[in-house]
C-alpha cells in the first residue's frame, strides 16, 4: 500500500501553523529524491541551491515579509522551462541555444512568490513524444511500478509528485504531455486554455499547440498554482487578452458529454473506471461521438510536425544526428509537409473547434479517459485495446490531442486503478477561457476529497 501523498496545500498549511519550516520541507524533499533516485525523475538537482532558497524563505517568514501564500514550498520544474540557476537541456543531446540566467515567465512568477525551485525534471526529448522513454538521461520509471513507463513528455514532473518528493511540478502540454503522465502516475494535471498561460521561456515544441501547466497531488494544489500561470504576459503575444485566475462556481448539475465511438476506443478496465466516476456524480451525463477523428488527428499531427521542424530547422541542419533517431525522423518528416497541407490542417482545425463548440449538444465539460490503457510496460512497443492495435506512443496521445487542437482547458484526475494497481485517470475538457469552471466541475468527480 502506497502512503498518501502530502499535498502542496498541506505543506502550505504546515508552514502557516509553524509545524514545519521551509528548511524542513526542502530537506525532506532532498531525502526523498535521493531515496527515489532509481525513478530517474530529475535531470538536475542541486542541494545547496535548494537549501539556500529554503533558508531565505524561513528568514522572510521570521521577519513577517512573506512573498505570498506558497512562499517556502518546493516545486520541481520540467527541463524545457528556462531557469536562471539550472541549465535547460530539453533532455536532448541536440542542445538548445538559450539565454543563460533567465527564468521562464511561470518560473519567475513562482520565484517572485517565494517558491523553492526544486531542480529540473526528466522529460521526453524536446517534448516530441509521450512515453518519456526517449531522453538523454534515460527513461523515467513509474512510482507505482518501476517496470512501467510514466508517460510523457512531463514524465519526470509526474514521477516526482507521485513519489511524494514534491507536492507539485511544472509541465508543458502539446498533445497531452501534462495530462498523460499525470494519469499514468495517479496525480492531477491541468492544461490551461491556449493563450491564457504564458509560454515565454518554455522551449517550444509547437507554438500553436503548446501550453504550460501544473502537475500536483490534489485539485486544491492545482487551484493554488493556477494564479501563477494564468494572465497576460507582454513576452507572449498569445496571452494579450488573457484574464487572471478568478475562482468561479460551475452549474449545480453540470452537463457532461462522454465522448465515445470510432477513434476513441479504450480498454474495458479504463472504460469501467471512467463510467463509474461519471455515474457517481451529480451531473447529467450523455454519450456522444466525434466524427472524422482520423482527419482531425492528421490535422493535429501535421501542425505539430510543421511547427516543430520549423523551430528546429537550424539545429537539424547543423547537428541533426545529435537528436535521437526517432526525434530526427519526426523533424525531417515535418520539413516535407507542404504549405498547402499545413493550411488544410488549419482549416480542419477551425472546423473541429466549431464542431466541438457548436455542433455537439450543449455541454459544460467533455469527458474521456486520459489514457486508453493503464501505464504500459517499458520496452513494449504496441498496445491493444477495444479492437485497436496501435503504437505505445499513439496510445498515449489517443484522447489528449483534441484538447490541444481546439485549445481547450483540460484536466486529468485519478479515478481508479487496474487490478495490478496502476492508476487510471479521467480527463475533463472545458470551454475556452472557462478554466475556473472546469476546475470547479472537476471537484465533483474527485475521489480524494
Amino acid at each position: 500500500m502506497r502512503e498518501k501523498l502530502e499535498t502542496l496545500s498541506e505543506q502550505v498549511r504546515a508552514l502557516e501553523n509553524g509545524t514545519c519550516t521551509a528548511i524542513d520541507l526542502a530537506k525532506r524533499a532532498l531525502e526523498k529524491a535521493e531515496a527515489h533516485k532509481a525513478l530517474n525523475a530529475f535531470a538536475a538537482l542541486d542541494a545547496d541551491t535548494v537549501m539556500k532558497e529554503a533558508i531565505a524563505s524561513d528568514k522572510r517568514r521570521c521577519k513577517g515579509e512573506l512573498l505570498g501564500p506558497i512562499d517556502g514550498v518546493p516545486i520541481a520544474v520540467k527541463d524545457n522551462y528556462l531557469t536562471r540557476d539550472y541549465p535547460t537541456t530539453a533532455c536532448s543531446n541536440a542542445k538548445p541555444t538559450v539565454r543563460e540566467g533567465v527564468d521562464a515567465t511561470v518560473v519567475a512568477n513562482l520565484r517572485a512568490a517565494g517558491v523553492v525551485i526544486f531542480g529540473k525534471t526528466n522529460m521526453h526529448e524536446w517534448a516530441f513524444g509521450a512515453t518519456n522513454s526517449t531522453s538523454s538521461i534515460g527513461a523515467t520509471r513509474n512510482p507505482h511500478n518501476p517496470d512501467h513507463i510514466t508517460g510523457g513528455s512531463s514524465g519526470g514532473s509526474a514521477a516526482a509528485v507521485a513519489a511524494g518528493i514534491v507536492g507539485a511540478a511544472l509541465g508543458s502540454d502539446t498533445g497531452g504531455s501534462v495530462r498523460i503522465p499525470s494519469s499514468a502516475c495517479g496525480v492531477y494535471g491541468f492544461k490551461p486554455t491556449y493563450g491564457r498561460a504564458s509560454r515565454h521561456g518554455v522551449l517550444p515544441l509547437s507554438w500553436s499547440l503548446d501550453a504550460p501547466g501544473p502537475i500536483a497531488a490534489s485539485l486544491e494544489d492545482i487551484a493554488l498554482l493556477l494564479p501563477y500561470f494564468l494572465g497576460a504576459d507582454a513576452k507572449d503575444s498569445s496571452t494579450a487578452s488573457a484574464t487572471r485566475f478568478v475562482p468561479e462556481v460551475g452549474p449545480d448539475k453540470p452537463r457532461v458529454l462522454h465522448l465515445t465511438g470510432a477513434g476513441l476506443e479504450r480498454a474495458d478496465v479504463v472504460d469501467e473506471a471512467v463510467r463509474n466516476a461519471l455515474a457517481g456524480s451529480a451531473a447529467d451525463v450523455d454519450d456522444s461521438e466525434l466524427p472524422n477523428m482520423r482527419s482531425y488527428f492528421a490535422a493535429w499531427e501535421a501542425i505539430l510536425h510543421v511547427e516543430a521542424s520549423s523551430y528546429h530547422d537550424t539545429l537539424l541542419s547543423s547537428a541533426g544526428n545529435a537528436f535521437t533517431s526517432v526525434t530526427r525522423a519526426h523533424l525531417e518528416a515535418g520539413k516535407q509537409i507542404t504549405a498547402q497541407e499545413a493550411l488544410h490542417a488549419q482549416k480542419l482545425r477551425g472546423r473541429f473547434i466549431d464542431h466541438l463548440l457548436n455542433n455537439l449538444s450543449d455541454w459544460d465539460v467533455l469527458a474521456l479517459p486520459t489514457l486508453p490503457v493503464p501505464a504500459p510496460r517499458h520496452g513494449v512497443d504496441r498496445q491493444s485495446f477495444g479492437g485497436r492495435d496501435v503504437t505505445t506512443q499513439d496510445s498515449m496521445t489517443w484522447f489528449c490531442w483534441p484538447g490541444n487542437l481546439a485549445g481547450l482547458p483540460c484536466i486529468s484526475l485519478p479515478v481508479g486503478a487496474s487490478t495490478n494497481g496502476l492508476p487510471i485517470g479521467m480527463m475533463l475538457m472545458g470551454k475556452p477561457g472557462k478554466d475556473e469552471i472546469l476546475l470547479d466541475i472537476a471537484r465533483r468527480f474527485d475521489k480524494r476529497q
Binding site: 482527419s295 533517431s325 525522423a329 482549416k347 457548436n358 481547450l408 475556452p432
Partner: protein, 51 residues
Amino acid sequence: MSKSEQLTEDQKQRIKATLARIRGGLSALAAAPSEEPAHIYKPENFDARKT
C-alpha cells in the same frame, strides 16, 4: 540542410509512414477553398454560431 542520404533506412521508413498517415487523414476530409484556416488562433473566436 540535412541530407536524406544521412538518414538511416529506419528513419526513412518512419518519415514515409508519418507522411502517409498525415496525408491520408487530411485528404479524407475535403475543405472548401473559401474555408478560412485557423490562422489567428483564439479558440473562443469559434464559439459563435455561423450564419
